[in-house]
Every structure is written in structure tokens, then in C-alpha cells.
């Protein structure tokens, strides 16, 4: 990366790449920590120089990758406001929502190596916070599923429908019941601010889960 000139580097793209990589790890970790899937499918891998649990199930991995692949163009253009991982019970009512609020600071500049290692450190801290989040959350009922929602600014989704990023992987407008949660408790987990990325992670949890 050092040999690329500043003109070659599209800062938005770099920030989006970093963020999507992080979101992939974060989603896998949420699935592991909240026991959405049995722990047997998870395997220790390394990211940001620390071990993280990632799933080995090919279809699950493909699903998450396709999801983030579609989200990436939105992040590049700074149109994605929130990426939400919703955990739903058997009746498809959300019990938990892990909300990643994303914003890019107006003056996007990538200056040196130290910046990226600083970002790495911040992302490591985020991952650590996700790992211990079950101290502040109640247990989920069994048989939960998950889905990913993206809240966009303005009317970006209209453009998305016209240009399908991945064939056979359509995005639909989310149902009201998936988006809103009754009796929600808000539990902040972590905030990070850096030159290329600002992210807030909090959990909305339903008071009565079962």
C-alpha cells in the first residue's frame, strides 16, 4: 500500500474495506457469543493480532459475505447510517439488536502507518467489548435467528434496487416488526473515533425475552 500514490488511494474505499472486514468479524463474534449457532461450527482465527471465533459453515459465511458485499458501496458513499444485526426469536420478533452506527468524518485523510495500527487497536477494543457483552445482556431464548438490516440516509436504497450488486441476493425493505422493538433497553457497548471512521456500538434489548 505504501507504493500507491495518494491519487490512487480512494480513502472512502479504504475506510469501507476496513469497516466491512470488521463487520464480518463482528457478526461472526456476535453469533458465537450470543449462541445463535452451536459453538461447534466456530473456529479460532486471527484478526488484528488477536484470536477471534469465526464460523466454518460455508453457507453461513457466504451469506454474511454477500450481505457485506452489498453494504460496502453504501458505506463508500457514506450513505449507510447504521448496520444492525437483529436477533429474532422463533416468532420473528426481535429480541436483541446490535446497532453499529457508522459515520465518516468529513476530512478523510490517511496519513501514515501509525494511523492504521491505531485503528487496529480501536477495532481490537470493539471486539473485546463484544466478547464480554453477555455480562450486560440477558440470555436469549432458544431457536433464535439473525438478520442484518441497513439503515441508509436519504433514498440510497432506491438506487440499490436498480443496481443489484450481487445477482440472486436481493435486498428488500424491512418489515416494521423487524425494525421496531417494544420495550427496548439501550445498552451502549463501545464508541470509537478515528480519522477515517467513527463507529458506535450499542445493543437494544427487549426487556422481556421469553
Amino acid at each position: 500500500m505504501a507504493t500507491l500514490t495518494r491519487q490512487d488511494l480512494n480513502f472512502g474505499q479504504v475506510a469501507a474495506d476496513i469497516l466491512c472486514e470488521f463487520l464480518e468479524v463482528a457478526i461472526h463474534l456476535i453469533l458465537y457469543v450470543r449462541e445463535i449457532y452451536p459453538s461447534g461450527i466456530f473456529q479460532k482465527r486471527k484478526k488484528y493480532n488477536v484470536p477471534v471465533q469465526m464460523s466454518c459453515h460455508p453457507e453461513l459465511n457466504q451469506y454474511i459475505q454477500d450481505t457485506l458485499h452489498c453494504v460496502k458501496p453504501l458505506i463508500e458513499k457514506n450513505e449507510a447510517e447504521k448496520v444492525v444485526v437483529v436477533i429474532m426469536d422463533k416468532k420473528h420478533h426481535p429480541v436483541e439488536r446490535f446497532v453499529f452506527e457508522i459515520s465518516q468524518p468529513p476530512l478523510l485523510s490517511i496519513s501514515s502507518e501509525t494511523l492504521l495500527s491505531h485503528v487496529e487497536q480501536l477495532l481490537r477494543a470493539m471486539i473485546l467489548k463484544i466478547s464480554v457483552c453477555d455480562a450486560v445482556l440477558d440470555n436469549n431464548p432458544s431457536g433464535c435467528t439473525f438478520t442484518v438490516l441497513v439503515h441508509t440516509r436519504e433514498a440510497a436504497t432506491r438506487n440499490m434496487e436498480k443496481v443489484q450488486v450481487i445477482k440472486d441476493f436481493p435486498w428488500i425493505v424491512a418489515d416494521e416488526q423487524e425494525v421496531h422493538m417494544e420495550e427496548a433497553k439501550l445498552i451502549p457497548l463501545k464508541t470509537m473515533t478515528s480519522d477515517i471512521l467513527k463507529m458506535q456500538l450499542y445493543v437494544e434489548e427487549r426487556t422481556q425475552k421469553t
Partner: protein, 433 residues
């Protein structure tokens, strides 16, 4: 000491929802590790007696002697509180038990424990053992000149060994193990551990093994092998001198290729500050990486906890399996540990058995090394690049061979076999950077 520390720990654990390990606590509060352990213990006692508020969970470090597969060994493991009694009962003799960490959340695996220590240790890298109880007077940081020399010397014999394999002194088989390694002293440490383990395991050789139900301590290897890197460097340099003598003529041909390798490795290694403590940290990273990739190499039917076991033990027990799967672990290993100097080769711990194979395997390894260091910048741990790596590495191999045929027809085959594969790897590394 006054009781302010109890409030401090309370704040960390309850308010900030942190995982407080004894190491983190000692570095944060600036106290000796033994005092940190006692602090955590008192805190736990106090909170449990109060029996109010949020429940706390703790992990303990248990070390003792136990008999495993017929041989006694010293086992050190991090266990959750609920498994503590079971693990203690399983040991013949429990030497020490102390609190490893205190946290509110019930941890499902050991990764957050490593994560908490990572940043504080990295910040205090030069003096991370300031408060440690394990000391070694001989363990001093190498100066950078000494370091480069050691790496250069480490590079020359493995290359020589391939050519001069028939007729070399077989009596140095035990010592030839570490010398036949690639430059990283890290793998040398594992090899020397292997050798010593086979001799005498009831001594202070600390091996990390996995209890079925317990968590593995990853950073312990850092402190445990503190004395080894130094002895390994000294041992290696002594061996280099012995090995270099019979191969002077071949060495001249090798010089060109080996110095190129050495410069590449030095450049790569100089990206991270070089001190013995750093090597230790790399070793812990590598041991982490090895543990990670040991998962990859093994069948996925095993549960994550079980596979998290001792590298050396696994290597000694499953040398055959390792040999066959060599290309894959190396590439994934490279992806996982890009910072360390040219590749802690996972297959090298058993060079004696593989002496005949070495030219072929070495070549395979080199080519994959070349590709993977390029792909690191793209993605770190996706399995897909692995399969892609194999395809393009085979392409690279054929490319390398053609190049080599054009240039150096007169030179020996094995010497040239190394050269072209090096070229793509060096250029690839710098191009992507």
C-alpha cells in the same frame, strides 16, 4: 498496602465491564505480579462474602505435574472456576494455583483473555517483565548488529544442508534440528523444546497442554520460554560454525542466494523492533497462530477447545500428518503471521525425517511463501485465498523454473531451485507494500 486497589478493581470490573487479568492489573497499577494476584484474590473474597450485586466469574491458572499418555509432564493451564476442582484432582501434584482473571461475563473461550493483555503488553514491550516473577540474568536484548548476524547465520546452513545432505555428520542429528531451520528463532525454540522434552519431561520443561474442559493460556509461553531464545541463539551460532566448515565451495555458490534471503528476512524483520522480548511476543503470536492453524490442519470435527493444545506435543506426535499437509499450513501460517521474519515453517521441527524430502518441500514452501506475503494486504484470514494461493503458487513455480533455466544452467540444480522462487517472493513483498 492500603485498600484503594479494591476500589480500583471494582471500578474496572463492574463499571467498565473489563476483564481484569493479573498481568494487566500489574502493568496498569505498577505492581509486582504476585501482588496483583493477591489483590485479585482479596477482591474476589470480599465480593463473594458480600453476596450482593452482580455475579463475578474468575479464571485460575493451575500448574502441576500430571501423567499424560504414560509420561509425566508439567502442565500449566488456565481454567474456569467451575472446572477448577476437576482439573486439580486430575493432577498428581498441584504446584501452584492462582487467580488469572476476574470479570463479570462468563467467558466461553480464551480469546478475550489474550485480547486484554495484548495492548498493555505491547505498550510496555521493553519492560513487560518489569513486574514479572520469572527472571533470567542472561536474557538481555541482542543489539541489532548481533541480531542480523544471527539471522544471517541461521539462513546459511539450511540451504547448505540440502546439497550436502549425504555424507554429513549424522551424529549432530539432535543439534541439527534447530540448525536446519529457517531464520526465525521462534521455530528453533519449538524444536529445542521438542528435543529437551523427549529427554526429560519431569524437569522444569513447561509444556502447555489442553485439558478437555479448560482454557489454554496463550501468553504463558512468553514467559516460560524466556531462557530458551538466548540459548538457542548461542547454540545456533555455535552450530553454524561447525556446519560451515565442510561446505566452503558450495557456500560460495550459495552466498549469492543466501545473502539475498538474509537481506529480505532482515528487512522484513526490521519492521518490528527486535529485542528478545519482542521475539517472545512474536513467539506467543506464532504459538497463537500455530494454534489457530493447527485447527486448520486438523479435521474440523474436533471441537475448538480440544484442538487448542500444545504445539510441540502435537508436532512430535503427528509429524507424519504434518508432513503431508505441509503446503497448506505454511500458507495459512504465513497469512496469519505476516510480521515475523521469513516464515516459521511448521514442518521444520522434524527435519531429520524429512531430510530426503527437503528439496521438494522446501521449494513448495518457498513458492507459497512468495504468494502469501502478497495476499496478506488483501485479506488476512479468509480461507478462499488459500485455494487461490495454491493455484497461483503452482503457476509461480513453473514461472520460476523457466526463469531459472534461462539464467543459470551451469549451476547446480538445487541451488538454482531456491533462487527463482526467492525472486518472486522478495519482489512480491515489496511491490505490495
Amino acid at each position: 498496602m492500603d485498600d484503594l486497589y479494591l476500589d480500583n478493581i471494582d471500578e474496572f470490573v463492574n463499571d467498565q465491564n473489563k476483564i481484569v487479568t493479573y498481568k494487566w492489573l500489574s502493568l496498569t497499577l505498577g505492581v509486582h505480579v504476585n501482588i496483583a494476584k493477591q489483590m485479585l484474590y482479596h477482591y474476589l473474597q470480599q465480593k463473594r462474602n458480600e453476596s450482593s450485586g452482580t455475579p463475578l466469574h474468575a479464571t485460575y491458572l493451575v500448574s502441576g505435574k500430571c501423567v499424560e499418555n504414560g509420561s509425566t509432564c508439567h502442565k500449566v493451564s488456565v481454567v474456569r472456576e467451575d472446572k477448577l476442582d476437576a482439573v486439580k484432582a486430575k493432577m498428581d501434584m498441584t504446584i501452584s494455583v492462582h487467580v488469572y482473571s476476574v470479570q463479570r461475563a462468563e467467558l466461553k473461550d480464551s480469546s478475550p483473555l489474550y485480547n486484554t493483555d495484548y495492548d498493555t503488553v505491547k505498550e510496555n514491550l521493553k519492560n513487560c517483565n518489569k513486574y514479572s516473577a520469572i527472571r533470567c540474568a542472561a536474557a538481555v536484548s541482542l543489539s541489532s548488529a548481533e541480531l542480523q548476524r544471527a539471522q544471517e547465520m541461521a539462513l546459511v546452513p539450511p540451504v547448505e544442508k540440502e546439497i550436502s545432505k549425504p555424507g554429513l555428520n549424522e551424529n549432530t542429528s539432535a543439534t541439527s534440528k534447530p540448525s536446519a531451520k529457517q531464520p526465525a528463532g521462534i521455530m528453533g525454540m519449538f524444536a529445542s523444546k521438542n528435543a529437551s522434552k523427549s529427554q526429560e519431561s519431569s524437569k522444569e520443561v513447561k509444556t502447555e497442554q489442553k485439558e478437555d474442559s479448560s482454557l489454554v493460556e496463550t501468553s504463558k509461553s512468553k514467559t516460560a520460554s524466556k531462557a530458551n531464545p538466548m540459548s538457542n541463539f548461542f547454540g545456533k551460532s555455535a552450530q553454524k560454525k561447525a556446519d560451515e566448515k565442510p561446505n566452503k565451495s558450495i557456500k560460495e555458490e550459495m552466498d549469492g542466494s543466501s545473502t539475498a534471503l538474509a537481506t529480505a528476512s532482515m528487512k522484513q524483520s526490521q519492521t518490528s523492533p527486535k529485542s528478545e522480548i519482542d521475539i517472545k511476543e512474536e513467539q506467543s503470536k506464532v504459538s497463537n497462530a500455530l494454534k489457530v492453524e493447527s485447527k486448520d490442519t486438523r479435521n474440523k470435527t474436533k471441537r475448538p477447545e480440544v484442538v487448542d493444545c500444545d504445539d510441540e506435543k502435537m508436532e512430535s506426535q503427528q509429524k507424519k500428518r504434518r508432513r503431508i499437509k505441509k503446503p497448506q499450513p505454511d500458507s495459512s501460517d504465513d497469512e496469519v503471521v505476516p510480521d515475523s521474519p521469513p516464515v516459521p515453517n511448521v514442518h521444520t521441527p522434524s527435519p531429520k525425517k524429512q531430510v530426503t524430502r527437503e528439496p521438494v518441500s522446501h521449494q513448495e514452501v518457498m513458492t507459497e511463501k512468495g504468494y502469501v506475503s502478497e495476499s496478506y494486504s488483501e485479506s488476512e484470514e479468509e480461507p478462499e485465498p488459500n485455494s487461490q494461493a495454491k493455484d497461483s503458487s503452482s503457476l509461480k513455480q513453473s514461472f520460476g523454473k523457466r526463469k531459472e533455466e534461462k539464467k543459470e544452467k551451469s549451476q547446480k540444480k538445487t541451488s538454482t531451485a531456491n533462487k527463482p522462487t526467492k525472486q518472486p517472493s522478495i519482489m512480491g513483498f515489496f511491490k505490495k507494500k
